[in-house]
Symmetry: C2
């Protein structure tokens, strides 16, 4: 979850918006967002997708690649 939170946080910073703004835009609670960014949350898929979408990010799934 750590990793996931960092992606969100970094992207948010790139877009220069605050946690409050992102939470509002994504339609989620501020507490929920801060926990996600800190990796202290286990968010539902709905929440995840809303945040990603708001940040102009997308998630995709593929067969696991080899680790050389």
């Amino acid at each position: 979850m750590e990793r996931f939170g960092n992606i969100i946080k970094e992207r948010r910073k790139e877009l220069s918006i605050t946690q409050r703004e992102l939470a509002a835009l994504a339609g989620i609670g501020i507490n929920t967002l801060t926990k996600i960014e800190r990796g202290e949350a286990n968010p539902s898929l709905k929440i995840v997708l809303r945040v990603l979408d708001t940040l102009g990010l997308e998630m995709n799934i593929k067969i696991k690649s080899m680790n050389l």
Copy 2:
């Protein structure tokens, strides 16, 4: 969620395992899995990652691509 469920279901079929087997391997309840496959669930990230991992799938996040 529909889309997500289908990915899981199709991959499971490719691996020729039953819902019960996948649920057991992933360490989640059978009811949870069936709902996910039908798109009638809003699973937590933890559950999502467990299922994907069990199926040899991985999720990644990138900047949304243009729709031409």
